[in-house]
């Protein structure tokens, strides 16, 4: 394996801490204690299949290159997640389905066949998730992997970025079945906290979801939407956004408008990429390694 320069994302002693560290591959280099329950998965996000524009003149092949890069990882992940905006939005329902179908065909080339999908607002907000569900099923669901409970939340099928009372009740019922110490990972598209409401980087009722999660001691959120890496704590809950596979966006609030960062012909795919997420300590801590679309 070639994972290195891990960013330790554990919250230490209740504080908001991202401790950088060098953690070589557990076992391979003998520098870290391997646990049979340790595993890693890959997060890809914000593909925007169907986008055409100057922010990515290579849009027709970027996803395929990322798929090839994932397939070339020395050790394959145990599963893969796509945290929304699989496609770029369109008013045409037939075109939306065509884009979803093309996306699905391309990612079928991933060698890892356990792939979890969730929608972004570009996929789902104009038809309340109807087309997405035809191709990928439910927009919110749970699954478990090696003792970690994963919860996929849909904060995009409502164009007003609401999770909604019904889904919040479902979340509460699911959490009620778990021990307070159980490791929980939430996967969603938009930030659950008010990252930048002036840029519509928020979930209108995200605070209610965070309040439901707060009694649980080991919760980590991985999301997309903002096309860049970002790390923030709400209490003891860590929130980590992922890079995009189409174009990068500016840092929250760093300029008047959230326009895409320009394509750099001298450094194609700059600011784009995906990540490996390593679950350690029985899923109570996570380490992230950011990877580019194309590896040298």
């Amino acid at each position: 394996m070639d994972r290195r320069h891990f960013l330790n994302l554990a919250a230490v002693g209740g504080g908001a801490v991202f401790a950088s560290g060098l953690a070589g591959c557990a076992g391979a280099q003998g520098t870290a204690k391997a646990d049979s329950n340790d595993f890693y998965f890959v997060q890809l996000s914000d593909v925007h299949w169907g986008y055409e524009g100057p922010a990515n003149p290579d849009a027709r092949v970027t996803l395929r290159k990322a798929v090839a890069t994932v397939n070339a990882l020395p050790t394959q992940p145990e599963f893969i997640v796509f945290t929304g905006d699989l496609t770029h939005t369109t008013d045409d329902p037939a075109e939306r389905r065509r884009r979803l179908a093309e996306f699905k065909r391309i990612v079928a080339d991933l060698e890892v066949k356990t792939v979890r999908f969730m929608p972004g607002e570009h996929d789902a907000s104009l038809d309340r998730g109807a087309a997405f569900q035809e191709f990928f099923g439910d927009t919110h669901y749970t699954f478990d992997h090696k003792g970690v409970h994963f919860i996929v939340l849909d904060n995009v099928s409502d164009p007003g970025a609401r999770i909604g009372e019904e889904q919040l009740a479902w979340l509460q019922a699911d959490l009620d079945k778990l021990e307070k110490k159980a490791p929980i990972v939430v996967l969603t598209h938009r930030p659950l906290f008010d990252l930048a409401p002036k840029w519509d980087w928020a979930t209108r009722d995200g605070a209610q979801a965070v309040a439901l999660l707060m009694p649980h001691e080991n919760v980590t959120v991985f999301y997309g939407h903002i096309h860049q890496e970002h790390h923030q704590m709400t209490g003891h809950i860590a929130h980590h956004s992922a890079k995009s596979l189409i174009f990068a966006l500016p840092a929250p609030g760093s300029q008047p408008n959230r326009t895409p960062l320009p394509w750099d012909a001298g450094a194609p795919y700059k600011g784009l990429g995906f990540r490996e997420i390593e679950a350690e300590d029985a899923g109570r801590t996570f380490s992230v390694t950011e990877l580019p679309v194309v590896r040298a």
Binding site: G160, K198, D200, A202, G253
Partner: protein, 124 residues
């Protein structure tokens, strides 16, 4: 920290209003009824998208949406509206201090939603 940065921008960017933006200026304080300023919301713009107001002067923004239940979120005022087509949505404002108050569509309305925003520029 982010809120702090944005608050500073509210003040600093007041002098940097884009030349291309459509501007409506509110008049001086009037006795009686507040001045009504009409605004149209349509994919993917507010028209006008920049409105000058005078600190301490009450105005009514009367907004007509043409094509979608656009949102109008004004985070600095902790206020948001749904702009339902077929009705006029009225927003009463009485800004107290000079600066800039931004607003954004927060109901995803299509390919261009990300450009749908505007601001009130409050003068002394």
């Amino acid at each position: 920290m982010i809120d702090g940065l944005l608050s500073r921008r509210v003040v600093l960017r007041a002098a940097l209003a884009g030349a291309a933006a459509a501007v409506v200026r509110a008049g001086s304080a009037q006795p009686g009824e507040p001045r009504v300023i009409e605004m149209v919301a349509r994919r993917f713009v507010y028209e006008p998208n920049e409105i000058e107001l005078k600190a301490g002067v009450r105005v009514i923004i009367a907004i007509k949406s043409l094509d979608f239940v656009h949102g109008m979120n004004i985070p600095d005022l902790h206020q948001r509206l749904d702009l339902v087509p077929g009705k006029i949505t009225r927003l009463e404002l009485q800004p107290q201090a000079p600066g800039e108050i931004e607003f954004v569509c927060d109901n995803f309305c299509g390919d261009g939603h990300e450009t749908m925003h505007g601001r009130f520029v409050v003068r002394a």
